[in-house]
Amino acid sequence: MITSIMKQSKSIIKTVITATFWLAVWQLISMAVGLDILVPSPITTLLALFDMAKTGGFYLAVLYSLFRIIVGFALGVIFGVLGAVLSVRFSIFKMLTSPILRLIRAVPVASFIILALVWIKSNNLPIFICFLMVLPIIWDNVESGISSADKKLIEMGKVYGLADNEILSKIKIPLIMPSFISALMTSLGFAWKSGIAAEVICKPLNSLGGMLQDSKVYLETPRVFALTAVVALLSLLLETLIKRGIRRFTYDKFE
């Protein structure tokens, strides 16, 4: 108990020292440049954040951006898992879909955003872009997780008379969980980056990306910094929530 508290305190102290160090570096760079329009100081950025936080539009933008990214991410996860399972099960499906996956991986996200703008309403475009970025990551990881799942353990289940659905739920799914979770974490980061990039380009109503673009156009650099910080914090928050939600499925407890 005492050791655990000491470990926690040490970790907090380390985080505070690291944060203070980088804030100081930021402050020094800002002082050296001497122009808020180029590099605003941490205080100016914080003030810009407080300023934005006074308006209802900011909260609406946060909510809508969060919603778009979560929906796109969830769709990417669902279809990624489905695609992976079908690919393992049916080689013809794998053969037909692999060029599409390669294409998604190879084409720059900005090209997709510009192309999709022609077909999709700007409000829904970030959802589509998030989906597109998350899909191949989940698909690849889950597919390789299923393919590399320890066949000997599956054999053991068969010999002990477990039904196919029991082998799936009691052996296969827990075995692929680590690769699925690592894919979730990686793709969540991509979802945020691509989702906000899509918002910046297509400027949907009530969006953090749209606010970022406006701030850039009006040379409100402190707001750009503040909005970037908000995006990073929301991404971290979502990552932490997902990590907590799936902790019981991870290998942490026995590794």
């Binding site: 010999v159 477990l162 009691k170 290998y251 026995f254």
Partner: protein, 184 residues
């Protein structure tokens, strides 16, 4: 109960078994004995239905329980969880863990067990399920003499009147289980 009739089996071009015959009656105990690569484990896999013979037929009646050559414990389940997963008798498992001196490890994950402990858990799992015949593929690998004797004694106690098909390189281990040597 187990009848392999003129069974031939090959992995690709490599012939493993040719016109192999084996008959094991209920309660009978045999030990497949022979050099490595002669197909002992393949015979066990044929009995377990994990391989299909290229020719001949395999008639297997009854339910199998098995100690594989590897422990094959689920890394994400505790010792008892591993037994529960294969629908093993939990009460029996607790008794056996006590007999093997592993009671304190019931809720531990395989990662925290030594090689010998994992082997004993694999034996316990096999004994806790409902079976008509027991397949033991080098079941005592990694155990010291004392633990081999203990494990053999426990296997004998918990598989009375059940058939045993054992694979080992040690005649002494076969004798501990009262298994008749069948050269392969």
């Amino acid at each position: 109960m187990i009848n392999l009739n003129n069974v031939s089996f090959s992995y690709g071009d490599k012939k493993i078994l040719e016109n192999f015959n084996l008959k094991v009656e209920a309660g009978e105990r045999i030990c497949l004995f022979g050099e490595s690569g002669k197909g002992k484990t393949t015979v066990l896999r044929l009995i377990l239905g994990l391989e299909i013979p290229n020719s001949g037929n395999a008639v297997i009646e009854g339910k199998a329980s098995v100690v594989f050559q590897e422990n094959r414990l689920l890394p994400f389940e505790t010792v008892l969880g591993n037994i529960r997963t294969v629908k093993g008798d939990e009460e029996k498992a607790r008794k056996l863990l006590e007999k093997f001196g592993l009671s304190d490890y019931a809720e531990k994950y395989p990662r925290s067990l030594s090689g010998g402990m994992k082997r004993r858990v694999a034996i316990i799992r096999a004994l806790c399920s409902d079976f008509d015949f027991l397949i033991l593929d080098e079941p005592f690998a990694g155990l010291d003499k004392e633990n081999i004797e203990l494990a053999a004694q426990i296997i004998n106690e918990y598989s009375k009147d059940k058939a045993i098909i054992l694979v080992t390189h040690s005649e002494w281990e076969a004798s501990l289980l009262g298994a008749k040597i069948v050269n392969i």
